[in-house]
Amino acid sequence: MLDFVQQLVSGVALGCVYGLIALGFVLVYKATEVVNFAQGDLMMLGGFFAFTFIGILGLNYWVGFAGAVICMALFGMLAERLVVRPILGYPQFSIIMATIGLGYFLRSVAGMIWGTDDFKIETPFSQGVLRIGSLVLAYDKLSVIAATIILCALLYLFFNRTTLGTAMRASSENMLAAYYMGIPVKRVVSIVWAISAAVATCAGVLLAPITFIHSNVGLVLGLKAFPAAVLGGFGSIPGAVVGGVLIGVIESMAGFYLPQGWKDVAPYIVLLAVLLLKPEGLFGLHARKKV
């Protein structure tokens, strides 16, 4: 039983990381219907920025964290301006390909700048564990769970309670109509990219003590975060987190209870099964065009 709870908690923590990356996908998708395959790589880049600030320049953890988030927000806007804006309004497939290309580029450039070694960031949560009875919880995992809950709540409030959030939802429904209503669609889209890059950075920094940072971390985790977002129903913020947690728990349980090799495929098998039964994910909205 204790093993089970232990696996459950570490699965939830891992899942929260997937959920955080998936949140970035969902944000961009919600606002622009662009599927950003480079999200994991934005996370990787955010981690490297934080590593540069904290590990190399020796800044305080929180200052470095904030610096990385700001840099990445600006970088997100830049990427949107250069790669995504020219092809907004074209078929989804070309945008997916463009972001895959962007991901390739970021991975290689990060590899060229920072090398291909694993890096670690010293965080206030790196050491220490919380003991509840005989249950042992590491602070770094708890910090991921806490950050996910906070970010998720903030984003939920942002999308549902603020004018800018409403503008984002409007421009995702129909860009042209939103533009006619006086919403500065272009600026909205670049803000969304900034937010999603910032969320990705948070994921990257929180993850640093758990998985380390290397130039391929974005690809590896991004490919797990995708099923998470799809499982939850692309375009639903709570869905992304629930999907992420589900994938994390499944992976962790499969790694513990099933024979070797199941750990990596189990999430995909579950995903396919869910898509068979509910093609629009667990929380996806089903809409059909009327003719």
Partner: protein, 383 residues
Amino acid sequence: MRFLFKTDYDDDIRLFPHSGYVVSYGLLLAVLLIAPYLLSSYLMSQLVFVCIYAIVGVGLMILTGFTGQASLGHAAFLAIGAYTAAYLQQFNVPFPVYFLAAGLLTGVVGALVGFPALRLQGIYLVIATISFAFIVEEILARWESVTHGNEGMRVKTIQLLGTTVSRDGPIFYYICLAVLVLTIVGTLNLLRSPTGRAFVAIRDSETAARSMGINVSLYKVKSFAISAAITGFAGVLFAHKLSFISPEMFTLQLSIEFIIVILIGGTFSLHGAVLGAIFLVMIDPFLTYLKDDMPGVISGAAATLGAGPERAGHIQDAVAAFASANGLKGAIYGIIIVAFVLFEPLGLYGRWLKIKLFFQLFPLYKRATFKRQKIYVKSERNR
């Protein structure tokens, strides 16, 4: 400019609309047939890879280009074809038999994948195909009694009509070329048949296709099966060319390369698959060439522009260091993909059509002819 005067339906669906096509494709075929006697063995080997990638490209084009169903899982189909060949070979099954068996099995698997994919669209389909590819990769690594797991499998040379076909020899190249040509001709015939037109109708609008009485599910599954079967054939050739296969060859990376093939070639025509394959396969030798020769060329240029010998040496070292940097290839890949999506969405074949039209219409060419239409009213989510 030639104006075709079509008087009946047969004129409209003819494979060679006029004699010019026969001449140009005949010439191309002749050049390809004598290529083994002209090119170095390295280039011949690359040419075989061009054929294999082009076959996969044609298969993927049927699914993605003509039926509008994206797939990032074609490496798995290639793997199934390759492993079927390697497995059946152990029992001394003759080449033609296991070649067809591999295509058939891959086609059946493709149809099985097609069924769950029926209800999926856009990003969901992409993720589902990625998941499928991961699962296949894992099965290949774990099902050791058949696939020998991560150790991989050796693939023996082809035995055909009592002779051994070396994987580097011209005969193997001719086999690949023949499969490619047959695939292309078969696909062209498919595309002018009711099935092919149903595919295109589904791509353009599923709702419209359904209301015209097309059984959308049936044709999607057919498209998946045909595309997978063609990829399976390519898999057999791929296995023979490499002579060794292991699960880590068939990763998502390879699936992405296949998508790049049709994206760079142009997703609307079979020409695109071939052009894209040439581009993707030939980029490697080109990059190697750049890596070896660029530093010298640039420092030479710097020297002629007035830099001292020491300065030129520095430049040469700097360029050499940059060119051999780890991951430069990935960065160039990324830039190429993004550049094609942004600036040449119709791909290489689209560029060729533009150049052709420019000369045909000479002073009257206008860029707007090929302009894509932007659709800001989003329809992907509710269609």
